[in-house]
């Protein structure tokens, strides 16, 4: 990464940290002056209080042009309504693989739709929405995608 590139990413991370502090203060950017190590992390207690979730947003080397990866570090693994383990790669559950230690990776955005204008606040907002819908899935058995579409219909 060039000096200009390094400075550009640090500026961006500082901006993200400020925006998170304003809008979602349960999350913060760690190591924000070291783009190679920086990440967002924080805990979220769900509205239905099923679990406490530890979330982490990992910045890849190409950030912000490259999409950051969103993980649920705790609890892990996650289980579905029917007791089966949450599928790693699923359209119905908006999951996109798993981390090296079995963490669930949430599909907050398709890789081919990510754009660098999307802020960390927008991404973490998606994670909160996912948690909310996941907990509703645990009570109703309806898939996250199904519930997501219902919300989309209600707000449009």
């Amino acid at each position: 990464m060039s000096l200009f590139g390094f400075s550009r990413v640090v500026d961006r991370l500082c901006h993200e940290e400020a925006a998170l502090r304003d809008h979602l203060p349960q999350f913060r950017v760690y190591d924000l002056h070291d783009p190679g190590r920086a990440f967002v992390s924080g805990w979220e207690r769900s509205p239905a209080n099923q679990y406490d979730y530890q979330l982490s947003l990992i910045f890849p080397s190409g950030y912000p042009d490259e999409m950051p990866l969103l993980y649920i570090l705790q609890p892990r693994p996650l289980y579905c309504y029917d007791g089966a383990q949450l599928p790693e790669l699923s359209h119905s559950f908006h999951t996109w693989g798993s981390g090296s230690n079995g963490q669930t990776q949430i599909c907050h955005c398709h890789r081919d739709e990510w754009d660098p204008w999307r802020s960390c606040v927008a991404v973490m907002l998606r994670s909160l929405l996912w948690i909310s819908l996941f907990e509703r899935h645990l009570r109703t058995g309806r898939t996250i995608d199904d519930l997501f579409e219902e919300i989309e219909r209600s707000i449009t």
């Binding site: 490259e66 790669l89 081919d112 990510w114 204008w117 927008a122 909310s132 509703r136």
Partner: protein, 492 residues
């Protein structure tokens, strides 16, 4: 008909001429027999079949071209030789062993330049003969030769006048016409007056994504005289690609890069092509950066947004001009973004200004569809027609050439004032559910926006673009905080 035939004079013996020609043409015996020639003997005013030793003084050869006059096509095979295969400055007796590609059941034998193992090949020799003495095609070459070319002269100059070709057919040597492919300078000599023939000779163009657009642009640039290419793609040619791709169905299964590289060499044997079978992706960004650094311009004929993001980043960092051509769904429209680092907008600016134009992309292959969807939910493949893609190929080629010739005095300079826009839009049709559905039909009008025309769009550089702008100045645009409560405060 050449002048020698015209020297036959008088119509009194015309029937004799035709009889002689017919006899030669139908039986081919004269051609099959070594040293037998059909000549016009001015002393007797008759056409005669003679051996070289018995050739009358002042006799005129009747060539294969003469035989083609009014009595059917010439029957002699043709041998085509690339300049690099000619053994220049070799002493008489030198013999080069080569493979010749056989085209059209023996109608044409090609040595070098093209062929590339697509057709049958045979053993052949190109031998240097001394000017003195008649020489013999039997006395030179190799025992298993099926084709020989004898070049006469102390220093072969690649001139067909000094070449004698023969092809072995059913065990007998048959005379063949010899044709030398033009040298490097002559290949593009028809451009004289528009651009210098070597104007694009040293330019290096990197094409990332060798699909229907990328492959088309590559071939068009080669035809314009660009001789250094880097082709980058990890995809292979599928039968479904062929209707829009420059490569033929016989190349199915080949890497698109290698297939197109062969097509380029067919166009110009002096071309230099480096192929890289890899995807433009974040994991390959370092290799991509090296490639871009060594190029004069980059064309991103990519079918995915992520690849464009990677190229945009790399070209901005390296200060290289980037063209991003693409088609919208079912190719109802095409667009070309011109990224001029430091002076114009980039792909990030386009996302901010026109996100719908970025999302509305054609899905032209199964592979692309797989990349867009989850494994448990398919995305339909909906490619457009090849002729709908062609205008984008043509315009992209034009923009590349204009960039490469920017410091040269050419007849194309006037286009500089025309091609200033950072974004070009082409409409193939008034697609339903598109922003252009309500356009007036083209008809005879020239004043209103309509289909089948190019439009230069004034896309501005965004001051706080996260890719090319000053992030610290304005920062990325965020979702509104009120959305948080709307989506999460559901009272559960």
């Amino acid at each position: 008909m050449n002048s020698r035939f015209g020297a036959s004079g008088g119509s009194s013996n015309l029937s004799n001429v035709l009889q002689s020609i017919k006899k030669v043409n139908t039986s081919n015996d004269a051609l099959r027999q070594e040293r037998q020639r059909l000549v016009y003997n001015p002393s007797t005013r008759r056409f005669e079949q003679v051996t070289p030793a018995a050739r009358p003084e002042g006799a005129l050869d009747v060539t294969q071209g003469d035989l083609g006059w009014g009595v059917g096509p010439p029957s002699a095979p043709r041998i085509v030789i690339s300049p690099e295969q000619v053994p220049f400055r070799k002493a008489p007796g030198f013999c080069r062993r080569v493979r010749a590609t056989v085209w059209d059941h023996g109608d044409v034998y090609a040595i070098g330049g093209y062929g590339h193992e697509r057709e049958e090949t045979v053993s052949a020799s190109i031998c240097i003969m001394n000017n003195a003495g008649p020489g013999s095609r039997e006395a030179v070459g190799y025992a298993d030769d099926q084709m020989r070319v004898l070049l006469r002269g102390e220093e072969c100059d690649g001139n067909a006048r000094h070449a004698e070709g023969s092809v072995k057919i059913e065990g007998a040597w048959v005379r063949a016409d010899v044709q030398f492919l033009p040298g490097k300078d002559a290949l593009f000599s028809r451009f004289g007056g528009i651009i210098e023939t070597d104007a694009l000779d040293e330019s290096r163009v990197c094409i990332v994504g060798i699909g229907s657009i990328g492959s088309g642009v590559t071939v068009e640039l080669a035809k314009a005289g660009v001789t250094h290419f880097i082709l980058l793609d990890d995809d292979r040619l599928e039968p479904g690609n062929v209707s829009r791709h420059v490569s033929p169905i016989s190349h199915t299964g080949r890497c698109k890069t290698k297939s197109v590289a062969d097509l380029l060499r067919d166009k110009n044997p002096f071309i230099h092509v480096v192929t890289m079978e890899m995807k433009a992706d974040w994991p390959t960004v370092d290799a991509l950066r090296e490639t871009v650094r060594s190029s004069d311009i980059v064309v991103g004929g990519l079918d995915n947004h992520e690849g464009r993001m990677v190229l945009n980043r790399v070209c901005l960092d390296e200060g290289k001009c980037l063209l991003l051509p693409g088609m919208r769904r079912r190719a109802y429209a095409g667009q070309i973004l011109v990224v001029r680092p430091g002076t114009g907008p980039c792909y990030g600016c386009l996302i901010a200004a026109s996100p719908e134009s970025v999302r509305d992309q054609e899905v032209s292959s199964e592979r692309q569809a797989r990349g867009l969807g989850y494994t448990d939910k398919a995305v339909p493949v909906e490619p457009g027609l090849s002729n709908d893609v062609a205008p984008v190929v043509t315009m992209t080629t034009k923009l590349v050439i204009q960039h490469l010739l920017q410091d040269r005095a050419t007849k194309l300079r006037s286009l500089d004032a025309d091609l200033i826009a950072p974004l070009y839009l082409w409409l193939n049709r008034r697609e339903q559910d598109s922003p252009f559905a309500a356009l007036s039909p083209m008809g005879y009008g020239v004043d209103e926006m309509s289909v089948l025309r190019w439009y230069g769009l004034p896309l501005k550089r965004h001051p706080s673009c996260p890719c090319c702008g000053d992030v610290a100045k304005a920062g990325p645009e965020l979702h509104t905080p009120s959305a948080v409560s709307a989506l999460t405060g559901e009272g559960e």
